[in-house]
């Protein structure tokens, strides 16, 4: 009996060591390695042929002044910009409330051969900061106006 208990303890100890080792690997082993969460427009355009018609994510800033929102057809077109490169994105359905010029976005979808990125999912990349509005800033006005009234300028 004590022999069986001793063996059980030994099994538990060895298993614990292995489990701790595997967790250490997960935490310190840099397992995400070279994952690309999203391509910037520059990266996407530099892929050339390889990027067409494949499931990819594209991230960047909503290029100011590029948003065309058709409220009747729920049809949204805008450009995603990073640096000097831009990619035209087409998306169906109403954008999230916080969508506006200059906001960081990530879109999931496919880059079509005609140079339009067909988005299946539009996500806002919210900054990690929670800040009180500066004097004179009206937090919700900007995207409200976008949602209500056609094209934003």
């Amino acid at each position: 009996m004590s022999n069986a208990n001793g063996r059980k303890t030994a099994t538990v100890v060895i298993a614990s060591v292995i489990v701790v080792g595997a967790f250490t690997y997960l935490m310190l082993g840099n397992i995400e390695g070279d994952v690309v969460y999203f391509y910037t427009p520059t990266e996407l355009l530099s892929k050339g042929d390889a990027a067409y018609d494949r499931a990819v994510r594209l991230g960047g800033q909503v290029s100011p002044g590029s948003v065309q929102w058709n409220a009747e057809a729920l049809d949204l077109k805008f450009k995603v910009r990073e640096g000097t490169k831009e990619v035209l994105v087409h998306s169906k359905g109403a954008p999230p409330q916080m969508f506006r010029d200059g906001m960081g976005v990530v879109v999931e979808g496919r880059y079509r051969r005609d140079g339009v990125f067909e988005s299946k999912n539009l996500m806002i990349k919210h900054s990690e900061e929670y800040r009180a509005p500066k004097a004179g800033e009206r937090p919700q006005e900007m995207y409200r106006s976008l949602m209500k009234g056609g094209t934003a300028s």
């Binding site: 409330q97 919210h126 500066k134 937090p139």
Partner: protein, 243 residues
Amino acid sequence: MTASTMPLAAASDRRSGLPWGWIAVGGVLALVAAQVYGVLTSPPDRDMGHLQKIMYLHVPAAWNAFIAFFVVAVASLRYLWKGRAADDLLAASAAEIGSLLTGLTLALGMLWGKPTWGIWWTWEPRTTSTAVLFFMFLAYLILRKFVDDPERRAQWSAVVGILGALNVPIVYMSVRWWRTLHQVQGSPMTLDSTYYIPLRINAVALMIVLVAFIAHRYRSAMITQAADDLEDRAALMEGGSRA
């Protein structure tokens, strides 16, 4: 007869340890006060406006759910080590409250996600892992209902609780593993103190409620078990006197 009343006496003795009823009332009052304080003092967020107030319940609920799960894991380990039924009951009590808080975290997260991210639900690692945690809590509680023998129930749920706990670090680490949309855990650096202080106060208030809840469920589980023991012994004695 005096011997068989011992467990019940021992269980009711625990009641005199701390005034848990008053602690629970105080915790709930503190939580309400902390919510009011948070809503009244902090200005609307630059991007999210007053939606940010959901944080004061969402984040403390998530933190306290993790504390509850930690209690489940430690009590389960201790049960396998020492074999005391009390540890098993403690784990079960913590799992009940933990599943409640995890459910609350998910529901509030969805309410928050719709206006900010534009979607009720996102298949993003941290959200997903929290949902996994929720399902594991529920499976743990369902397992307890499906097993009748107390010793078997205790041992099996301890094992299930520990294996489930091994999945929890994934929840914490997922933020580092995958670059995601979900906000990186807030710290005083990225959170203005106007938001951070009420968040802290709310978390502590909810923790008092959590502890009081666990204590209450634990105590009633102990009393139920003592009553069951008493019933068994009475049945045994009756059978013995008849023979």
